[in-house]
């Protein structure tokens, strides 16, 4: 079973102005995120921090907050979600 909490440090800028490069975040991994919540997801072996734009069945549409840097959105499965961000510290 996955550990309930995970710690991450943010790299790159596509979640500005909410999450800046170097910010530390804590995720809670035992509940599914809701629309509008920030999540850490696993895609192609990389951890990505994104925001849930829409939930369609078991698919989550995620996007970056900084549309200047992150102009694309993507669809991921629920099992790719590591956890939802509950704290920036």
């Amino acid at each position: 079973m996955r550990f309930p909490f995970s710690r991450f440090v943010v790299s790159e800028r596509s979640m500005e102005p909410v999450f800046f490069e170097g910010d530390h975040v804590l995720t809670f991994n035992w509940s599914m995120p809701k629309t509008g919540e920030a999540v850490v997801v696993r895609v192609d072996g990389r951890n990505l921090i994104k925001r849930v734009l829409k939930i369609i069945g078991s698919k989550f549409i995620v996007e970056g907050d900084n549309r200047r840097v992150s102009s694309r959105v993507g669809s991921i499965n629920a099992r790719q979600i590591i956890g939802k961000v509950i704290l920036k510290y």
Binding site: S6, R7, F8, V9, V10, S11, E12, R13, S14, M15, E16, F19, E21, H24, V25, L26, V40, V43, D44, R46, N47, L48, I49, K50, V62, E63, G64, N66, R68, V69, S70, S71, R72, V73, G74, S75, I76, L87, Y89
Partner: protein, 167 residues
């Protein structure tokens, strides 16, 4: 929160990337075109600025300097946005089969990168227009790779140019 930072010092957290590398397949050169129009508009506006005399009063100088600073900032940002958007489509979307069919695409992207820098560095309406034309050419090729015919639609912007859109 300090406790968590203390834990991070002993057990460093994993890195989480904010940059979008989700292979979503959603690409569009529209934003690059809007940005190129913006570069042209800012260049026009800087070019049109005029002082009331060769030696304007201090207050007027302050106003002009402030205006030029603001226009230049937006011009810089949007020239960079052109480069970013084109790079993403070129690097993430275009595949070998597209390159085989559109052999000039690498050269065109290279020219856009250089032209965007020229448009940034100078107040040059001709350079800004050329940048827009190159980006529109890129947009045309992009939609062709998707099997879509394109149409040039009046932008309705103060720059009075067109936007290349799929039919």
């Amino acid at each position: 929160m300090n406790v968590l930072r203390l834990i991070d010092r002993v057990f460093p957290p994993q890195t989480v990337f904010a940059h979008c590398d989700v292979p979503c397949g959603i690409y569009d050169p529209h934003l690059a075109q809007v940005a190129a129009h913006t570069v042209l508009r800012m260049t026009n506006m800087i070019d049109e600025l005029q002082a009331s005399s060769a030696e304007p009063p201090f207050e007027e100088r302050k106003r002009i300097i402030s205006q030029i600073s603001r226009l230049t900032k937006v011009k810089e940002e949007h020239a960079e946005l052109v480069k970013h958007e084109i790079r993403v489509i070129w690097g993430d979307y275009l595949k070998d089969e597209h390159i085989k069919k559109h052999k000039a695409i690498h050269q065109l992207v290279f020219k856009i990168m250089k032209q965007a820098s020229v448009a940034r560095q100078n107040v040059d309406i001709k350079a800004a227009n050329e940048l827009l034309e190159m980006v529109q050419m890129f947009a045309g090729i992009f939609w062709e790779t998707k099997g879509r015919k394109v149409q040039k639609v009046k932008s309705g912007y103060p720059t009075e140019g067109v936007i290349v859109l799929p039919k």
